[in-house]
Symmetry: C2
């Protein structure tokens, strides 16, 4: 399997090759690939790689455990692994390798289809705004919920790509997204590559932009949405949601169904990954603080459902209170 | 005049010498010194330096114009310059140099005294919390409103220094404060130097910390507080205020009277400095985004008065609605 090494962007477009499930697990853990939907699809490809060397259910369960241990917050990972194990359980040893390979392709195709439908749900919002305002539409996003986080189009960026494709003048405020700078490194790179107008700002700028009429619409992705609509996404997302509420700017969360966790009642039940302090302490190879200072580094935060205007899903725009009923079983 | 070159911290404690008003103006503009109270005192020393070469009112007005043009948001700068010109106008040419030098010392002494009284106003809050909770008190701050931003003690950090001095167990969450990292570089350095417990986090972490019960109290500084209590401070401050409101955590703004602008009716009237995009685009000498991407870089944002629990002033704790009445005329 060949993946883009996202750690090298925006400076170099390099690829990594995975030959074994251990390669896949390492690549998810070290964030060669990241983004909730892509993590799910990558895990399915990891299971297909596992089946190349051992198709026994015991081996496949061990492979799933290895992959599941890499990242705790994005539910897409566990969701994909459970579906892979369901496929494997229905088949004989000899059929599993081909079936898991085919199933990974199915999940990738599903992701493309769902991202397109998410985009259509959000495109209406941008189109309406363009018609009402008669000027460039200003979208704010956070982190990278773009095509790099998925297979094509992305989740949060999908409405922007579709709007741009139909000639709507749209501009994206890209938040740098400390500590790993996925906004600056990935979203800005994607948008520059697609020729879409965008401007980089520090994460701290969101309040100023929102309360000064410089944003029409916030669209972010998600790593896990609980049954009640509470949304775990990249650390800092909740700050944008609170500022959007103060400013009266709509705040949308875009997600494929694999990100919705009906078994998780609320945000307090979502595990929040804590990562190495050096991601905070070291930037571009140099320290930002004094030697004695330590750091904490949570990767995600939870935005309470009441701050979410609506969800952009493959089934259209859905209110937080209607998500549990709308989700496929 | 000798100042700490704050651009070199936390990696080196170096000093800069100013011999002329042009040195002072350049040092304020390039942020060798920064922090609203220190900018005010530095401008007064700049006026004293100006008087060494020409004590005519015309020359002193030109010096004040030069200094006033360096930074637009912190009102302390203009406040100090106006007071210096008041002093100069009352005197003959031959008395102005000594008087302006003496006056700069007076302003510095006033700052020390006001910071001590601000600290006493906030110390009560920390002491009460320590007694109620019976554990380490968790304070969150933003940027650097510490002794580096003032002469001694600082504004927002003054209560923390006083609490530590009386043996209260206090811990500070230090936000890195992109794009110039004054939290990581200056506040962390100050607290490490003073032996006060602290942890560095990215600016994005504020929502997670506040809504998970990890913060008892937010205390920030200010660059200008309008007559109605709207508060301009380092970009990102308003995001902490909104999250504190959601979490029910008290949000205090600490300021000397030179930061209160009775002539400014509200936040919309406060000029917000926009700085060079390279502060966003380049970190530790390396780019964070792709070459085609441009950035915007506002230095401050406005926190509406309704999100401020209270002001910590030299006259004690004051509600936003009472500030105009409490301020000295």
């Amino acid at each position: 399997m060949v993946v883009i090494d996202q750690r090298r962007l925006p400076h170099a477009l390099l690829h990594a090759r995975w030959y074994t499930v251990a390669n896949a697990a390492a690549g998810i853990a070290d964030m060669t690939v990241r983004g909730a939907p892509l993590i799910g699809v990558s895990a399915a490809y990891g299971m297909a790689l596992a089946a190349r060397s051992d198709t026994s259910l015991g081996a496949l369960h061990r492979a799933a455990d290895l992959l599941a241990a890499t990242r705790p917050t994005a539910v897409n990972l566990r969701w994909a692994l459970e579906r892979c194990l369901d496929v494997a359980r229905e088949l004989n040893d000899s059929d599993r390798e081909a079936a898991l390979r085919a199933f990974a392709v199915v999940l990738a195709d599903e992701d493309v289809d769902q991202c397109r439908r998410i985009g259509a749900a959000g495109l209406d919002l941008i189109r309406e705004r363009a018609q009402q305002a008669g000027r460039q539409v200003q979208v704010m996003t956070h982190c990278n919920a773009g095509r790099l986080a998925c297979i094509e189009l992305g989740t949060a960026t999908s409405p922007v790509y579709l709007a741009h494709a139909e000639g709507i003048d749209v501009h994206v405020w890209v938040s740098e997204t400390r500590p790993r700078n996925q906004g600056a490194a990935l979203t800005a790179w994607e948008l520059a590559d697609a020729g879409i107008a965008h401007t980089l700002v520090v994460d701290n700028a969101a309040g100023h932009l929102l309360t000064n009429g410089l944003v029409d619409l916030v669209i972010v992705g998600a790593d896990r949405v609980a049954a009640n609509g509470d949304t775990a996404n990249k650390i800092g997302t909740s700050l944008k949601a609170y500022a959007a509420a103060v400013a009266g700017v709509p705040f949308y969360v875009a997600l494929p169904w694999s990100t919705f966790d009906l078994g998780c009642p609320d945000g307090a039940s979502i595990p929040i990954e804590e990562r190495d302090e050096d991601e905070v302490l070291i930037v571009n190879g140099g320290p930002v603080g004094p030697p004695a200072t330590r750091a904490r580094n949570w990767g995600f935060d939870v935005t309470p459902a009441r701050f979410v205007t609506g969800f952009l899903t493959p089934a259209g725009r859905i209110a937080p209170t209607d998500m549990a009923a709308a989700a496929p079983r």
